[in-house]
């Protein structure tokens, strides 16, 4: 199947004075209709910056310095988003690419009712009549299973629970029927039972609206539950990508292995937490060679010198490692 969104060689740097912090250092992946790709990695590895780069909303002093983000169009060839003028990019946001954020409290404007906010999401792109918009808003609120949408319409964000707010955020992101949904840690701020319900909702809506979903998370449980494919990110690069099942069963990168080992499992009593030793280096001092080598149990001489080229270790299973696990 043709990918809806194809990202290649994406690089985003934060330039503070003359120091350059490479937050995203050449990232490739693609999103397909009706599929969810999980993007995982420790805090600070560049997941959010990658997501914001796709929307071209990287905050200053960040800048996309290289790469390509191509959006498939039903008629005509793919559209290169990184070279679009800002005014055309604005029409892509919301309509082709929707985004939900981590904090459902702060992502809603405190002075407007939730109905007004969903309405605004529609009206940015479509000048519909009052009644038509209103019906669509109620319909969307119903789609995200917000109880009693007719009266919830008039509630302010602070009158809703965290899970309800995140449902509203999803309704807002879906308001103009985007082809791609980018969800940056949509459930991190929620407690576990609510988390499972929101993930279920996203999957159902993905199927109904035939969207491609990029699910950013640092939680492997979320990945296992809600994705078909996973990309593991480390210091601004995707070091391993594979089908979710395969990755969980047979991780090839020592870093992925470490992440998996750090998840405590029922039945296994003594499992080391934080199986990846050492801390993430800062962006201003990215190690030469393979950037993971100082923390890697398998690192050899070559790892210090050369950064590994991506290689295929199975169908649709790509890894950047000199000594991948079997």
């Amino acid at each position: 199947m043709n990918p809806v969104l194809e990202v290649s060689g994406l690089r985003t740097h934060f330039g503070i004075e003359k120091r350059v912090l490479p937050a995203v250092r050449g990232v490739d992946f693609s999103l397909s209709r009706g599929r969810t790709l999980g993007l995982v990695g420790e805090s600070g590895c560049g997941k959010t910056v990658t997501a914001l780069s796709l929307m071209r909303l990287v905050p200053r002093p960040g800048r996309i310095v290289a790469g390509s983000v191509r959006l498939d169009r039903s008629g005509g060839g793919p559209l290169e988003l990184l070279s679009l003028p800002e005014s055309r990019m604005r029409r892509i946001r919301g309509r082709e690419l929707g985004m939900i954020f981590q904090e459902p409290m702060t992502s809603l404007n405190p002075v407007f009712t939730i109905g007004e906010q969903v309405r605004e999401a529609i009206r940015v792109h479509e000048p519909l009549g009052k009644k038509a918009v209103r019906e669509r808003v109620i319909g969307l609120l119903r789609d995200v299973n917000l109880p009693d949408p007719e009266s919830r319409y008039f509630d302010y964000p602070h009158q809703l629970s965290g899970g309800q707010r995140q449902r509203v955020m999803i309704a807002i992101a879906l308001a103009c029927n985007p082809k791609v949904l980018i969800a940056d840690e949509p459930t991190t701020a929620l407690d576990v039972t609510v988390q499972a319900r929101i993930l279920g909702l996203i999957s159902r809506l993905r199927d109904r609206y035939e969207m491609a979903v990029l699910l950013v998370t640092h939680d492997l449980g979320v990945v296992a539950q809600a994705t078909e494919r996973v990309a593991v990110m480390y210091l601004g690069r995707i070091v391993e990508a594979a089908a979710t099942r395969r990755l969980f069963k047979a991780p090839a990168h020592p870093y992925t292995r470490g992440l998996l080992d750090s998840v405590p499992r029922l039945g296994e009593e003594k499992r080391r937490l934080a199986a990846v030793r050492g801390a993430v280096p800062t962006l201003s001092r990215i190690p030469a060679g393979c950037s993971f080598h100082p923390r890697c149990p398998r690192a050899g001489e070559v790892c210090r010198r050369e950064s590994p080229a991506p290689r295929e270790v199975g169908e649709g299973h790509r890894v950047e490692c000199h000594f991948p696990l079997e």
């Binding site: 909303l57 690419l97 929707g98 008039f154 629970s161 992101a173």
Partner: protein, 303 residues
Amino acid sequence: MTAPEKSRNYWLSAGREVLRRPRAAVSLAVILFYLAVALWGFTGWKTPDWETENFEMAYRPPSRAHPFGTDIYGRDVLAKTVYGTRVAVSVALTASVLALVIGLVLGLLAGYFGGWIDDLITWLFSTLQSIPYILLILAFAFVLQDRTFTLFGAEFRIRGINAVSLALGLTGWVGLCRLIRGEAIKHREREYVLAARALGSSPGRLIVRQILPNVVHLAVITFSLGFVSYIHAEVILSFLGLGVKHVPSWGVMIDDAKLELFRGVWWQLAAATAAIFFISLTLHIFGDAVRDGLDPRLRGERR
């Protein structure tokens, strides 16, 4: 979180919130009374006569015919106070609206866009601010006095009262501008602004739809407090002889009172002072209540 209370309209519920406080409601009534008096002055319909001079009636203390007494020319002080209300309110209103618009627009632009726009606007208000306020107004009032200029083909002549209003408005926006700029910088970084950008909102739409509603309570409170200070400024300027001339104003009345007090004529000073006092007090109380009623955070906490 307490039981959700349905409120259909932000402004309506904010208004109810404000008027629930008795002091605010009383203050509003007093303010409306002043506005009505000013409006009455403008219509000129059966307004008390302040012009007729009658030297036989000079310096009469308050009586049934002249509740506030008479001045040196035998003119009715109540009538002068009423006319003074018209002057004070029209100066304060013009200046407030001017300062509000300039301060709000420049503050939002500087805060949201940053960069050279911010540098330019910051430079502008820092410069204005570095000049002692009273000198600045005096300078503006001097320069604007009796100027003629053409705008859209029509000729305008700036006379006493207009010069005062313009001078106050053109210098008075700095405080609001600084305040709004700071708030806009804060809100610009908020996640809901990012979320709105992710929806494809243009900068103009973002400023008007997302940021403005979050700072408008500051504009309202500044407006009501500014109103008081413009009334005071008009009094001071008129007192100094730079404001209105040949017509009554509270400042002119106080100026007249200089020569009256030692003769024991206290009523003209008392009338002007009381007029200033009550409008100042009620605007302060009302302004505070409005701030509490409109601030989204305070509203959120109370529920």
